[in-house]
Structure formats: structure tokens, C-alpha cells
């Protein structure tokens, strides 16, 4: 059985675990632990400490594994481990969580220097309302080079998650 890997990264509470749960064909394996940092526990009760794991089987011989990284910088040792040999990277950014944009920038820079894999920024719109940024704004805020695309996404919506993955796969094909 050949296994290939796509990595889902992004800041704390951006929607990585939700993204994987929405698309995986097996019950997702996650490594959530209760959040201990006061500012983080306001946002959500638990956080990924090692990785999330999802899977999409392609045929009898090939399978895609989807790994979600922890969002916090203190777990960045896992980003290196999970990013190694990945086909591509999806960095999820919550369009309404402006306080996390600097962290997103760090993550994108981290993967840019650690891997040659193509990357896509998935701008996740969890809430319909609120002070959200659009694709053009986030591109400027994150100082993204032209070759890193930004796509809109709703991590709770299966079609939207599929669209992001398809975008990344087409990008991988175009880079071959």
C-alpha cells in the first residue's frame, strides 16, 4: 500500500480539525487535550497537541493521509515532522480571527523554508457575520507571494473542503 500525505496547518482554532473531520472517510484520530492557556480556553476547550489524522483511500494500492498540525508555535517541532515529504500544505486561516494572522504568517514562512511542497491558503469563514477579511486583504496582511494562492473555504462544508483539496491537487499537477 502506497501512502501519500497532505498537511493541514494554521493558527489555533482556525478550523484544521473540523476540516479533516469533514472530509475523512474514517473516524478521525485526534490528539486533543484540554486547553490550559487562559487566552486559548476562552476560544475553545481543547486543542490538538500532536496531530489530527484523516484518510481518503484512492484504490486498493494507494491512500491519502491527511495530517493536521497543532496550531500553537510551541508545538512547531510537530510541523517539521508532519511537513516532511508532504505532497502539499493547506494553511487554514480564520477570516474573522485577526489576532491569529501574525501566527499564520509565521506558519507560512516556516513551511516555505522547510518544504518545497506547494501550499494553498484556505480562508475559512466560520461565521457569516463579523469583521472578516477577504482574499485580497489576507494576501496583503500575510505578505503572500503570487505563487501561494488563497481560496475561500468553509471547514464545516464538505463540498467546500473538497474544493480546497482539489485546488491544491491541481496546483501540484501544474508544478510537475
Amino acid at each position: 500500500m502506497k501512502r501519500y500525505k497532505i498537511v493541514i496547518s494554521g493558527p489555533f482554532a482556525a478550523g484544521k480539525t473540523t476540516f479533516i473531520k469533514t472530509i475523512t472517510e474514517i473516524a478521525p484520530i485526534d490528539t486533543e487535550a484540554k486547553t490550559t492557556a487562559t487566552d486559548e480556553s476562552v476560544v475553545k476547550d481543547s486543542t490538538t497537541v500532536a496531530m489530527d489524522f484523516g484518510r481518503i483511500s484512492v484504490d486498493d494500492e494507494n491512500v491519502l493521509h491527511i495530517f493536521g498540525t497543532p496550531g500553537q508555535f510551541r508545538f512547531n517541532y510537530m510541523w517539521s515532522i508532519l511537513g516532511k515529504d508532504a505532497l502539499g500544505i493547506i494553511v487554514i486561516v480564520d477570516s474573522g480571527a485577526r489576532e491569529t494572522f501574525e501566527d499564520a504568517k509565521d506558519m507560512i514562512n516556516f513551511f516555505r523554508v522547510k518544504t518545497d511542497a506547494p501550499a494553498v491558503i484556505a480562508l475559512n469563514h466560520f461565521d457569516e457575520k463579523g469583521n472578516k477579511v477577504d482574499k485580497n486583504e489576507i494576501r496583503k496582511i500575510l505578505n503572500l507571494p503570487n505563487w501561494i494562492p488563497v481560496v475561500d473555504c468553509n471547514a464545516r462544508d464538505k463540498q467546500s473542503v473538497k474544493d480546497v483539496l482539489l485546488y491544491l491537487l491541481r496546483l501540484i499537477l501544474s508544478r510537475d
Partner: protein, 211 residues
């Protein structure tokens, strides 16, 4: 042609021969320095250094690196260097002194920057109210902000890693930048690993569409 090992002749002795003989030509040097293995050439005109180049640097930064080769190989080829543009005007003793002082500086600074392959990010917290930066430091801030490492900035600005490290250390101390990751300097040289076969990606696209 003069050729040999730096075990038999020290670099100072070779330089002295070229200088006293007022020779013109190219001194090819290859060997180990505190910054890694270096390969390059110093060009002399009438016994004076005119230009220098390594695989990475040109001019004075190249001389500084080459003069720090302690073990390795040298070859002097007498040739006309008149068409080569002068990039160095310092005398040989001044260049030797400069390279020695750079290596002393490096000894002090290398423990303060974790690696010349570190990637930094600009920080917005804890910056003093008033700071005075040199034009070079502004230039370095801009390049660090674009994800370049000390090594890459040194190459881009044609400065030694020591000069750039000093400025970066000052910027870290002022909390203007902070370390975020370390880049693999050999990454570009590594043969790209074969990715997934195209047929797999095509099948995965079809599979996803059906999900």
C-alpha cells in the same frame, strides 16, 4: 605557476612571495575556513590585490573568507589581469588584518546568533520608543521580513555573514526581530524527491469528486 599545499607554505608566505615579486595573476585557493569549505581566487596586479571572488562573494568579502583558509590548496597562475575591474584598494597587510579581526568578531558573535541559516520575523512587541538604525540595518530588516536568512542576506548584499550577523544580533537585542525557524542551506542542492505519480493525483481528484 606556483602550486602547493597550505601545509607546506602558509598563506602569509604565498602572499609575501606574490607581493615582493610584484607579480600579476590569479591565486586560486581551496580549503577549510571557520565558515565552511571555500573555493575562490584572489587577483593580483603588480603584487597588489585587485579583485577577488568565491562561489558566493566578490570583492572584499571574498578576500576576507579566502584569507581565513588555514588548510587546503593554492595555485598561482601568472596572467594579465589588466582588464579586470579593481574592487579592492586595501594593501595586503590591511587585508590580512581585516580578515583576522573578522575572525575574532565571528568568535564573539557566533554564540549570540543560533545559526546563520535562521529565519526571523519582525516583532511588534517590546520595541523601545526610540531607536536609531543604520541604512544597512534597515535593509536587513526588510530582507529578514521577506524570510531571508543571515547567509542569504550576506549573499544578496555582498557582505560577510559576520557583518550581517552583527546587525541581526543588534536587531534581536532591540526586539525588532525574533527567530522563528531554521532553513536547511543545502535544501536547494538536494535533488528534489520524486513526488506522487501524476496518475495518483489524477485518481485522487476523481475520488474526491465522487465523495
Amino acid at each position: 605557476m606556483l602550486e602547493g599545499s597550505l601545509k607546506d607554505f602558509t598563506l602569509d608566505e604565498v602572499l609575501q612571495m606574490i607581493s615582493l615579486g610584484e607579480k600579476s595573476g590569479r591565486l586560486i585557493l581551496k580549503g577549510d575556513t571557520p565558515f565552511g569549505n571555500r573555493n575562490g581566487a584572489i587577483f593580483f596586479e603588480n603584487g597588489q590585490v585587485k579583485d577577488a571572488e568565491t562561489e558566493e562573494y566578490a570583492g572584499e568579502p571574498a578576500v576576507v573568507e579566502l584569507l581565513n583558509i588555514k588548510s587546503g590548496y593554492f595555485k598561482f597562475v601568472a596572467e594579465d589581469v589588466s582588464i579586470r575591474k579593481r574592487s579592492i584598494s586595501k594593501s595586503i597587510p590591511d587585508l590580512v588584518l581585516l580578515s583576522t579581526s573578522k575572525i575574532d568578531e565571528w568568535g564573539k558573535i557566533k554564540n549570540k546568533v543560533s545559526s546563520v541559516d535562521t529565519v526571523f520575523r519582525l516583532s511588534s512587541e517590546g520595541i523601545p520608543n526610540q531607536i536609531h538604525l543604520s541604512p544597512q540595518q534597515w535593509q536587513i530588516i526588510s530582507l529578514l521580513g521577506n524570510g531571508l536568512t543571515i547567509r542569504e542576506i550576506a549573499l544578496k548584499l555582498n557582505k560577510t555573514v559576520i557583518d550581517v550577523s552583527k546587525d541581526v544580533y543588534a536587531l534581536v537585542a532591540l526586539r525588532i526581530v525574533r527567530e522563528i525557524a531554521e532553513k536547511d542551506p543545502n535544501k536547494e542542492k538536494i535533488i528534489k524527491k520524486k513526488g506522487a505519480p501524476r496518475s495518483f493525483i489524477m485518481r485522487l481528484i476523481e475520488r474526491l469528486k465522487r465523495l
